[in-house]
Amino acid sequence: MDEQTTLLEQIMAYDFALYDLQLFLNTHPSDTNALRDYKMALEQSENLRRQYQSKYGPLTARYLPNTTCWQWINDPWPWNNKEV
């Protein structure tokens, strides 16, 4: 698996963990262990996103590293990516 795909999978994994922990925290808002793990997963997810986007471009249109050129429409588009 290339580095780009590995990063994407890690981002998916941390985002899933965040969602699962979110559901738990909804019914256990004062659970400090769950809250600690949520915070750790959030930091991981944000770091990985930062890493991915600086190397491979925007994951969402809200990522705006360059104010002179709109990068969101850069090739390849998802359905043109032969790797996937």
Partner: protein, 62 residues
């Protein structure tokens, strides 16, 4: 599951208000009522393993 496990929950927002101790399951369950055990936090899977298994909570893998 051990019915004597106790969790503390708070009645107000932001973890304030009256703390209430609740059992994981009712000690004296009533007929014609459905109950969901109150989950207690243990170890969770790594994010990668959680994604594969469909949950980060080992006790929920069936």
């Amino acid at each position: 599951m051990d019915n004597l496990n106790i969790a503390t929950v708070y009645t107000g927002n932001n973890c304030t208000g009256e703390p209430i101790m609740i059992p994981v399951m009712p000690v004296r369950p009533e007929l014609a009522r459905a109950y969901v055990p109150y989950q207690l936090y243990n170890k969770i899977f790594s994010a990668q393993e959680g994604l594969k298994k469909g949950t980060v909570f080992p006790e929920l893998v069936k």
